[in-house]
Amino acid sequence: MRVTQGTFSFLPDFTDQQIHEQVQYCIDNGWALSIEHTDDPHPRNTYWEMWGHPMFDNPDAAAVVYELNECRKVYGSHYIKIVAFDSSPGWESIRLSFIVNRPTEEPGFKLNRTEIKGRNIQYSISPYSSDKPQGSRYK
């Protein structure tokens, strides 16, 4: 399966040139760019690991693409996303977030059902990969 979180997961994977274009759009809007990676793609895994701080005063999309490739050298088998933060009043949150790197094999998620009273079912989702300890998944 293909994890389709993020703004552009239904499009073919972006080239570095395409990533550069989207990053430039964010910079032009005054947003800070951040690179985050994880080996736990659970839809409610909010806090992916940060590759350094968000780049607050960086005018150059090429610097983000450079850092992305540095991150890929270390975490190339993980999910990596680019996140744009907007600090303007009334928003103060993420404006754009798209996956730019993913494992070659994506085993997907297990749906766990616990039957409780009545016909009610309690659901939980767990990535098949997360059975292994953090750091040793997607090897």
């Binding site: 703004t7 274009e21 989207q22 793609p41």
Partner: protein
Amino acid sequence: MPDGDKKLDAKARYSAGVLEYKKMGYWEPDYAPKDTDVIALFRITPQDGVDPIEAAAAVAGESSTATWTVVWTDRLTAAEKYRAKAYRVDPTPNNPNEYFAYIAYELDLFEPGSIANLTASIIGNVFGFKPLKALRLEDMRLPVAYVKTFQGPATGIVVERERLNCYGRPLLGATVKPKLGLSGRNYGRVVYEALKGGLDFTKDDENINSQPFMHWRDRFLYCMEAVNRASAATGEIKGTYLNVTAGTMEEMYKRAEFAKELGSVIVMIDLVIGYTAIQSMAKWARDNDMILHLHRAGHSTYTRQKTHGVSFRVIAKWMRLAGVDHIHAGTVVGKLEGDPATTKGYYDICREEQNSVSLETGLFFDQDWASLNRMMPVASGGIHAGQMHQLIHYLGEDVVLQFGGGTIGHPQGIAAGATANRVALEAMVYARNAGKDYLAEGPIILAEAAKTCTPLREALDIWKDVTFDYASTDAPDFVPTTSVS
């Protein structure tokens, strides 16, 4: 000012009998509205021979303190303060028998945090008043002091996006069809296919409550199976608007609690449940971390005709105060009523921190929302993937685009229909961000994206000629004119 419009001294003013409203203190052409006043703009159509200023004064009177005759008990109160004051009457452009009347209301006339109380005055008795042929509430200015007495949207656009982990693009939805008659099991099938295919949300229609063919618990159970299956299939957070509309508040709370117990991220209500019920559900939603979707069922009975009723821009303002998170606000290009400029005005009311006067979009007042959350507008009704460039151009990014027929009617099935919409959407947002002239090049961008997405190719082929190009019944009147006063 004609002599007869002048204010009377107290003795003449309170002599028993009948007096023109304008002489009773409801017409004050020199009045400068206070920052704390509620201001209403009415479009009035007086009966033949009725002076427009007297008609405006009558509207002010009947929507505040007046009755048809002089009453001595006025003198026991600070009547001057409580009287609404018509202070400006303008002829409308192009409609010689209609006038825009501006009326200011003292803040103390209204109970804090109550849409029911606000509307009981502003759209109460006055709409049946005989000297008027027709009356329409066009817009309102709600002072910050009053806005702050309301909760506002339970979740708001920003937190909704954070909860859904979905940024940078419109959300995608679809209403399950056929809207009536499916069993719970079959209904859940549509939900599963649509969400798995790429939608963020599916939706109950306004009249799906608890009927013989599908009772509410059954629907909720099957829908949540579908939502969780789709979430596992995609790694995304999915939702389905479970409509909790019912005959009593007790029943709605019961259904909402069950939706929460099942882990739904969103519940839905219909406008027809009433303002108080909406405020109660908004409070419940805030207390229970639930997104609250409002279907504006019934609004066209009073919003659509230009001379009589309440403009939808006013309903949108009331709903932002009342505290819903989603509100259907028009599509521009779809099958339902919606002039582009007027629709933009509605969207601005939903999404801006402050609205500025903009006569061309129907906004007559500056409106400060005082940090109330933003509402997510929902575009639904006769839209399809081939219009994606227009939809993003007119409606922007913070909107739910709902393709019901445009998803479920896809020749290759529901999941394919959903995929077509999602690919079209992402391709268009990508092109926009990359600096393309996406409105002009929209069809080319879509055709390009369809090269790697067969479902999109098929969607574009089957719906390429579908447009709904009819004259609007509710375009704004905005040629600046001088005041008659």
